[in-house]
């Protein structure tokens, strides 16, 4: 018989897990709808309009259809890899959410190695992708998977270095700690651009990108690299529809395909949220205290925290979509050029400035 406290522990954590899962599922439903609407509006179309008011039930109908579909395993596929891959792809992304804080007092797991953990667990996704590509026994799938892995592994370097430059400024790998330092709840002094003390003003000015302006560049690098890591246009060569059918998930049907899709859209939210936490103030309000108007004090709290972080991440997700429907896909050599010749040196430069900034200015 387990003790009551152990039961409580199990119950709380399963509840957290279920909540996070339902959040990712709901977000994926919403994001697919949003993606279709955004792309439609950009192309002067209307997008889904028939199912529900303004097509709002379209993705629900899609998922219902997908759940009823037959699960096909190709005859010569590596069955174990093929079946397990979608689960690994989704779970690796889903587990990333475990250490991301949502509000000052709301974090599923406040671990000291938060940044490192997220960065590491998300990389597991590429193993899932490789398993899917290899297991399908299809040349397009395998090509897509190979491209994906090459791309993810390369882009983790500039992304990682850009993240390190932010971590050097906040001197902590705990994402909750990093967030606290970017607002009025900070225990340290926050300086806007290194000269104006905004510890009690907070708001926009205390965000990491404004505490140390070179982090704007670091954020741009991180953002570009994160697009490549979630295999989204303009870095979508792993699933390039026009060349590879749809890359590593060509052979998937039904609920397995749904899982791959769910993983992809959760990844968008995850990398967006990770960037927001490290660079754009996390759950902190963008409104500063102005004189007797204590806007920052009034708009900080658990509810406000959730509102701010969701709003910020959705903005980032919108930018991801906006880029996808604007820019054409990069060629493989251009992709590697951009990563190794532009982003990586710039990221190292950011890291260098971060060190100097930490020693000389802060």
């Amino acid at each position: 018989m387990p003790q009551i406290s152990e039961l409580n522990f199990l119950l709380t954590y399963s509840l957290v897990a279920v909540l996070l899962f339902s959040f990712t599922a709901l977000f994926a439903l919403f994001a697919v709808y949003a993606e279709r609407k955004v792309s439609a509006f950009i192309q002067d179309r209307l997008g889904p309009m028939e199912t529900g008011k303004y097509g709002s039930l379209q993705t629900l109908a899609d998922i219902l259809k997908m759940l009823q579909k037959e699960l096909i395993v190709p005859a010569v596929a590596d069955k174990v890899l093929f079946v397990v891959a979608p689960v690994i792809i989704f779970v690796s992304v889903y587990m990333g959410f475990a250490s991301l804080p949502w509000a000052p007092g709301l974090i599923p797991s406040s671990i000291n190695l938060g940044v490192f953990y997220v960065f590491a667990i998300v990389s597991v996704e590429s193993i899932g992708i490789l398993m899917a590509g290899w297991g399908s026994n299809n040349k397009y799938s395998l090509l897509g998977a190979l491209r994906s892995v090459a791309q993810v592994v390369s882009y983790e370097i500039p992304a990682g270095v850009a993240i390190i430059s932010a971590v050097m400024i906040s001197q902590s790998l705990n994402l909750q700690e990093v967030s606290i330092q970017q607002g009025i709840l900070t225990h340290e002094t926050a300086k806007f651009f290194g000269f104006w003390d905004v510890t009690h003003i907070g708001g926009l000015f205390a965000w990491n990108i404004f505490q140390a302006p070179h982090l704007i560049l670091a954020y741009v690098i991180y953002f570009i690299a994160s697009l490549a890591e979630c295999n989204r246009a303009p870095f979508d060569i792993p699933e390039a529809e026009s060349e590879l059918v749809s890359g590593f998930h060509t052979e998937y049907t039904g609920i397995r395909f749904a899982f791959v899709f769910l993983g992809e859209y959760s990844m968008m939210f995850l990398v967006g949220m990770f960037g927001v936490l490290l660079f754009l103030g996390g759950w902190n309000t963008p409104l500063p205290n102005i004189g007797s108007l204590h806007l920052a004090d009034w708009t900080t709290g658990n509810i406000w925290g959730i509102i701010w972080i969701v709003a910020k991440v959705l903005t980032v997700v919108f930018v991801q979509m906006w880029i996808r429907w604007t820019l054409p896909r990069l060629r493989v050599d251009q992709l590697m050029d951009l990563c190794w010749k532009v982003l990586t040196p710039l990221a190292f430069l950011c890291m260098l400035i971060s060190g100097v900034w930490r020693l000389m200015v802060m």
Partner: protein, 193 residues
């Protein structure tokens, strides 16, 4: 070189993104579905272009080149349309009348009954040749283009106004008249002899 390239790629990427953002925010507007003859037809550059078809549709000219229509009262059953049709989608069966059957609206005398005037719209290729050869302009193309049916046979349009009984009546009348004529002829021959 690489610095210049990087800057120019960011600038051009931004140009493209500004353009798509402009279109994104113009999505609240809707382009009016104008007739192609309207002077402002090409002036509309912003807004949604989608026409949600069954609920709204693009205006088409009254005499479009869509489905065929026959005013059977004006038809003289000359069979020209059936002969010119490249895909043989018009099927006509004529019965000679016992005398003049009346006039069409342009004054031509009708001498034949149209016992059958079927057009298979599933075969029709919308070339419009039948409307060109028709001497009385009774076969025309209309502005109707949307017809969905559950049976393929429903796409065979039947324009004949005659019921089978009427057709049979016309046939017997013709046979009777011809028999009478034949009899009269034979009588005349006998007289000569």
């Amino acid at each position: 070189m690489i610095v210049k390239n990087t800057i120019s790629s960011f600038v051009t990427a931004w140009k493209g993104m500004a353009l798509t953002l402009k279109h994104f925010f113009a999505a609240g507007k809707k382009r009016k579905t104008l007739d192609v003859k309207n002077d402002n037809y090409f002036a509309q550059q912003e807004g949604i272009v989608t026409v949600q078809y069954p609920k709204e549709s693009i205006p088409v000219p009254e005499v479009g080149r869509y489905q065929l229509d026959v005013v059977i009262d004006d038809c003289i059953v000359c069979d020209l349309c059936a002969k010119i049709c490249p895909v043989d989608c018009i099927e006509i069966e004529s019965i000679k009348g016992t005398g003049p059957l009346g006039q069409t609206s342009d004054g031509t005398v009708k001498r034949l009954h149209a016992a059958k005037f079927d057009i298979d719209m599933a075969k029709c290729l919308y070339c419009g040749l039948c409307t060109v050869v028709c001497p009385t302009e009774c076969i025309t193309m209309t502005n109707k283009y949307d017809r969905t049916v559950f049976q393929l046979s429903d796409l065979t349009y039947k324009f004949s106004a005659m019921t089978p009984e009427e057709a049979e009546e016309a046939r017997t009348a013709l046979a009777k008249q011809q028999a009478e004529k034949q009899a009269a002829k034979e009588a005349a021959m006998k007289k000569k002899e």
